[in-house]
């Protein structure tokens, strides 16, 4: 076993150590904290490259398993794995993470909690890398929960802001609901296969013997056990990856600092759900030999992905906050990844995950740069014409936007989205996901063009005396933006943007149908380049859709850009009801608030009542009883016991006083007593003798 496989644990462990040390540093030691985080991430990146090179040379899964402790007669085993899936994720997470860490040193420079920020970021990175390398579902789950925790801590980083605190709570609770399904699925898997390791020389849960065992058993409605477990684990993935109906936390999570949004809610954490499905793909795809249709689990994944993709795209059209547009866009793109996984397999979904990580992180960091340059302003109605003031940000942001829209041939987003559309087109169950995905692609291009027109083109609509309304709290920039004049961000922020833009373009090369390197790497066997005419038709269709969306966006928003900040949206003024419906995200948040949240609050009041009156009452009664006994005891002690003792000593005292009378101190009295006693003695003796 090679050195890197044995020491793969170092990759997640180094950032965690950095976080641990940062947690002990005082708040003023900013350079050490940032240095530790960036340094550990850099070393992890180098190790990830090393692991990637190893995975290129050595096909298949290389695992390192060990026993954690004895559980009865079975040892509980954990381990880590190096396979192509792990390798690409490691490189992506460490690279994007490193760039975002460097960006954060510029973005968070004026924040007083700089050290705490980097501590949490490093902990997040370590936990995410732990999810990636885990060979045991239990270890994955533990790191998964730590990822959720750090997401909570980072969303609520500015916890004095009640909106941020509420958003953090919402994120944690919503993902927890999904994690319940995950936990049940994990327990069931253990009950079926008596192991939680994925690959363990034939005895792992994703290996042939375990899968064959689970496929033959059926449960409710003829669902195979493997599909059922897969669906339960998908609940956890749906929560983490913001699929409908558990998507509600993602837009609110934009209350956190922008680097957090970039790292966690665009590139890595939300991708963890997709990664999980890719990891347990053998389980979800397990079919008995005769069946050729896709499993129920994968069908559900595809359908939910399609619904989410379309939903996110429709809602993003009607948003005003620059980060919310990107948040709903992320929801939509995660839906695409799920379609890719369900209809096309892990290679298709993971390719879009990798390209999306780069261009979405680019877009978020660009948005952060815009926000930083505008002094904390986040409403796109109050921006405009920024391409003159922030050219580098404009150029990189446009690259990201074109990648996301799927601009043909040059950008990576085109190739990955095309692969998904191709897989959806070839799906044997239904063509509906294909149409939904295509419509979503049109809307994606449309809303991104809308955003770019509002932010970078037209006239500057920034109010001259500082930010109004939806500004980020603790915004430091009012100090150096006295004139209300936007400026380009420092190099420490624009350099990562440039690097990410470059990757957004170049990464497309590894997944084109002409050279499907990515797919062959992930699947472990060389994939023949297909040259069907149908493939070309899908490529042409997606190109036309993307260009059409951009054109429509330009026609509506680009030809006559808004000149005033309070001007209504052109689309919104024509269709106000639809616009309001989309702006409020199809009223799903309101629905949840009126039902689940209200129900839970009512249960909370009930529990409080039970606690206050019933449990508290019982405790009061017991305490009253104890007090009564104590009072009785003190009464007994004060009157009865004391009375006995008082009588005793008083009688002794009286006797003593009486006897003390004899001790008069007069010698002659003593003599008299002696005389009397002598006489008595003599009489006694004589009387005795006389008898």
């Amino acid at each position: 076993m090679t050195w890197i496989v044995r020491n793969l644990w170092l990759i997640p462990a180094l950032p965690v150590f950095a976080a641990g040390i940062s947690a002990l540093l005082p708040q003023r030691s900013r350079r050490p904290a940032a240095g530790l985080a960036i340094g550990s991430m850099g070393v992890s990146f180098l190790l990830a490259l090393f692991a990637f090179a190893n995975a290129l040379r050595t096909p298949g899964h290389q695992t390192f398993n060990f026993s954690w402790f004895q559980f009865g007669d079975q040892p509980l085993q954990l381990g880590w794995i190096l396979d192509p899936l792990t390798a690409v994720m490691l490189v992506m997470v460490t690279f994007v993470g490193l760039l975002i860490f460097i960006y954060s040193t510029g973005y968070m420079e004026h924040d007083e909690n700089f050290t705490r920020f980097f501590c949490f970021l490093a902990l997040f990175a370590g936990a995410m890398l732990g999810v990636v390398v885990a060979n045991s579902l239990l270890l994955l789950f533990m790191c998964w929960e730590i990822v959720g925790l750090t997401s909570y801590l980072l969303i609520g980083f500015w916890f004095q802001n009640p909106r941020a605190a509420a958003a953090a709570k919402k994120a944690f609770i919503t993902t927890r609901i999904g994690d319940l399904g995950f936990l049940i699925g994990m327990v069931w898997l253990y009950a079926q296969t008596h192991t939680l390791l994925f690959y363990a020389n034939g005895s792992g849960a994703l290996e042939q013997s375990a899968l064959a065992h689970m496929v033959t058993q059926t449960t409710l409605y003829g669902l195979t056990v493997s599909s059922a477990i897969g669906l339960l684990i998908f609940c956890g993935a749906a929560g983490k990856s913001g699929q409908v109906p558990l998507h509600v936390w993602l837009p609110d999570a934009m209350e956190g600092p922008t680097p957090v949004s970039a790292l966690i809610h665009a590139a890595t954490m939300v991708a963890a759900g997709v990664f999980l499905i890719a990891r347990i793909y053998p389980l979800m795809n397990a079919n008995s030999a005769a069946v050729i249709t896709p499993t129920i689990a994968l069908q559900v994944v595809t359908w939910i992905g399609a619904i989410t993709a379309l939903f996110g795209a429709t809602v993003a059209v009607a948003q005003w906050d620059i980060k919310r547009i990107l948040a709903y866009s992320t929801v939509s793109q995660l839906g695409y990844m799920m379609i890719g996984l369900g209809a096309g397999g892990p290679a298709v979904g993971m390719f879009h995950l990798i390209t999306h990580a780069f261009f979405k992180a680019l877009l978020f960091l660009g948005a952060g740069s815009v926000i930083h340059g505008c002094g904390g302003e986040q409403d796109i109605r109050r921006m405009g014409g920024l391409r003159r003031y922030m050219p580098v940000t404009f150029a990189t942001y446009t690259a990201g936007m074109l990648a996301l829209s799927g601009f043909p041939l040059v950008f990576s987003g085109f190739w990955s989205k095309d692969a998904i559309l191709h897989a959806a087109h070839n799906w044997s169950i239904s063509q509906a996901p294909f149409y939904m995905a295509t419509l979503g692609a049109l809307l994606t291009a449309f809303y991104m063009t809308r955003q770019v027109c509002y932010v970078f083109f037209g006239t500057l609509r920034l109010p001259s005396h500082g930010p109004v309304g939806h500004a980020e709290p603790h915004s430091e920039d009012t100090q150096h933006h006295g004139a209300g004049h936007p400026h380009e961000s420092p190099a420490v922020m624009t350099a990562p943007l440039a690097i990410l833009a470059l990757c957004a373009i170049l990464l497309g090369l590894i997944g084109t149908p002409a050279w499907p390197w990515f797919q062959s790497f992930l699947e472990g066997h060389p994939v023949v380049a297909e040259h069907e005419p149908e493939l070309l038709a899908v490529m042409v269709t997606s190109s036309i859709i993307a260009l059409l969306g951009i054109l429509l966006g330009y026609l509506i928003y680009g030809r006559q850009p808004a000149t005033r900040a309070d001007a209504a949206d052109p689309l919104g003024s024509r269709e106000p009801h639809t616009f309001r419906l989309l702006h409020n995200a199809w009223y799903i948040d309101a629905f949840y608030a009126a039902t689940f949240v209200r129900l839970t609050r009512w249960l909370g009041y009930l529990a409080d009542f039970v606690d206050r009156f019933i449990f508290n009452g019982l405790v009061q009664i017991v305490s009253f009883g104890v007090l009564a006994i104590a009072w009785l005891d003190s009464f007994f002690d004060k009157y009865i016991v004391n009375f006995g003792f008082d009588t005793g000593w008083r009688s002794i005292s009286l006797t003593g006083r009486a006897l003390a009378v004899l001790q008069g101190g007069r010698v002659q009295a003593y003599l008299r007593y002696i005389g009397l006693a002598l006489v008595a003695l003599v009489i006694f003796l004589l009387w005795g003798v006389a008898r």
Binding site: A660, L662, Q663, G664, G665, R666, Q668, L671, R672, G675
Partner: protein
């Protein structure tokens, strides 16, 4: 009683009387010196008893009885010296010879 010679009866009566007087004096006088005198009287009464029984006893020629009396007188003298040795410092301490006033050992 009737078998005793009348001279002996008279001596014994005298010594008993003296003893009683001495005892009464020792028990009732307030002055400490007078208590000592009473004690001396009691001792002398016992001496008379010795002499009486020697004179009217079986062998009056031997000096055994007189030796008893002489020893008793010397003991009485020594004891009187001791008694005075107690009374004199007691007088110096309490400035009075009244025994009723020396009751500081009262319980």
């Amino acid at each position: 009683m009737n078998s005793l010679p009348p001279g002996l009866q008279a001596c014994l009566l005298l010594s008993a009387l003296l003893f009683a007087i001495g005892l009464a004096g020792a028990l009732t006088r307030r002055n400490a010196i007078l208590v000592l005198i009473g004690i001396e009287l009691m001792l002398n009464a016992a001496n008379i008893n010795f002499i009486a029984f020697w004179h009217y006893g079986p062998a009056p020629s031997q000096i055994t009885g007189i030796m008893f009396a002489i020893f008793s007188i010397s003991v009485a003298a020594a004891e009187a010296a001791v008694g005075l040795a107690i009374i004199l410092p007691a007088y110096r301490h309490s400035r009075t010879t009244d025994l009723d006033k020396m009751n500081s050992l009262k319980g």
